[in-house]
């Protein structure tokens, strides 16, 4: 019989996480169809169980490879999806009716988890300049930013789908709070995301100064993080200064999500950059 290794346990935990999130998605979908409170409750419990197992898996891998989840695409996708579910759970604890947005947030997380599990899972070399306490601060705030934006996008998508007046989607959207509450919550999440993105850039700049001798270098990843930050600031100001239609605001949130995905996931692995050596 093949001996059970930590790697096997890790893989099992990750697949258990996927099973929990998939099960929760199914419960939330049925809840949207049959409007039974116990289905919502089952979906919520499965989400929290999944998040707990997910966190154990991340810590176990951290211990196994000797560094945090920021080096390979597998680590980044798996860890970021945990932060998204974490933000969803926090919002769901505050506003119970927003748990219905799990129908949008959890499938997104499942796609990320799936891509992460398909990516090579071997550990990677850690450059000496990565061994800085600023790295943890920089990465932590980046992941929390992603978590907030995805949950805000889930809610904004719900608002946009409100135009569908019949069928299962209309029933699902009927479970959401009114437009004003959704927009207010999105705005709060954007405020938090903006603060996190600012702290991510500040921590990154201080670290870059120590490691590379410069705090800013107009590197593609730095430029895209600035674009994301400016876009969040723009959305916050636009909401405060102009009387925007709720749908226009929701579209802006979706646009910010698309730009964030490009900045956080596509540019680091696609663009020629000094940061590229940090991603395997």
């Amino acid at each position: 019989m093949m001996p059970v290794t930590v790697q096997h346990i890790l893989e099992l935990l990750l697949w258990l996480t996927v099973a929990c999130y998939a099960g929760a998605t199914v419960f939330f979908v049925f809840y949207s169809s049959f409007d039974q409170k116990k289905l919502d409750r089952a979906g919520w419990i499965l989400t929290i169980c999944g998040l707990f197992i997910h966190a154990i898996a991340i810590l176990l891998r951290w211990n196994l490879v000797g560094h945090g989840p920021y080096r390979t695409i597998h680590e980044i996708l798996v860890c970021d999806s945990a932060f998204i579910v974490g933000a969803f759970v926090l919002v769901g604890l505050q506003v119970e009716r927003l748990r219905a947005s799990g129908v949008i947030v959890l499938p997104l997380t499942l796609i990320m988890m799936g891509l992460g599990l398909l990516a090579p899972q071997a550990g990677a070399y850690l450059s000496p300049s990565l061994k800085s306490p600023w790295l943890a601060v920089h990465v932590l705030f980046a992941k929390m930013t992603v978590g907030c934006i995805v949950v805000a996008t889930g809610m904004a998508t719900g608002l946009l789908l409100r135009k569908i007046k019949s069928g299962r989607i209309a029933r699902l959207i009927g479970l959401f709070p009114d437009n004003q509450s959704i927009v207010d919550l999105c705005q709060k999440l954007f405020q938090v995301a903006f603060v996190f993105a600012s702290l991510m850039i500040i921590a990154g700049a201080i670290w870059a100064n120590d490691a590379w001798g410069r705090y800013w270098g107009w590197d593609p990843i730095e430029i895209w993080s600035l674009i994301v930050w400016a876009l969040y600031a723009f959305i916050l100001h636009v909401r405060l200064s102009w009387r925007l239609n709720d749908s226009v605001y929701a579209w802006l949130v979706v646009a910010a999500f698309v730009v964030s995905i490009v900045a956080f996931f596509l540019v680091p692995f696609g663009a020629e950059s000094i940061h590229s050596q940090y991603f395997a």
């Binding site: 600012s198 490691a211 410069r214 705090y215 050596q277």
Partner: protein
Amino acid sequence: MISFFSSTRLTTWLLVAFLLFFVADWCWPAFPRWLYLLPAAFFYANLLSCLVIRLILLKKNLVGKVGLVAFHLGLGVAMAGGLVTAFYRFEGGLEVVEGQIFSDQAESYLYRTYGPLWRPFFTDEAFFLKEIRVARDGEGNITAFDCLVARTPGAEVFHRLAANHPLSLSKGQIFLSQHFGTALGFKAVRDDGAMNSGMVNFAPQQHKQTFTAPGLPYTLQVELGDKSRQEILLAGFPGHFTGKQALTPGQGVRIGDITLIYGKKTHWAGLMVVRDPGKPWIYAGFLLFSLGLLLYYSEKFTRQ
């Protein structure tokens, strides 16, 4: 006039201008980048006008208002620091190899880049680099380069330059870049006795490198071999030396009238000298920005 400069509409158009410039810069390599300064100047005026008109006159309690003003002001100070850096920064780079000994002022070896308004008064402090040693951890991995650095000749002291631990001079800093790569030493001996030596530097995780050996009229490809056997593979380009030869330290290969001898495997790192007068502005901006956020959110939290 002031209401035009303090409007969100202007901010929107400036962001659109930045976006258009960014796309143009992406598509057209010869894009004149100084054009970015135009929307940046308007953006700065927009930020300052907003600070005066909107935030200072805002009807809000004192803590929240101070917070809002502080973090917008922090952004303004950081942007000013960015301008100072762009125009006044000095940067020099140098590749240092384990065991290398310099006999001259190290700054004369630097590849330099300057901001357009850089002035010599920023470089009145020279530094001397004499010898490079390598520090390793228990498993033999390189953790730092110990460099014999001095501000005046004859007063050398070993400084540990590790990644993330720069050495501060009064008007600048010496950084060790993140590369702790492998360096291969070669000697080329011609039949008439003339001798040259040179190094091939590999970045971490890089295994192949092209190399113009001293005295050789063409380029060779060097491949790092098995780590334990300290072996390298030497291959020439088609039309010249087409063979492949595995070498261990001390071994040589005959190419035309030259014997190329593989010396030894060492390590190298990048060394940078930076003088950036914009840095204190940037850190002051970050501090104001963070303090502002803290005040603003503490006021909101207390109100709730």
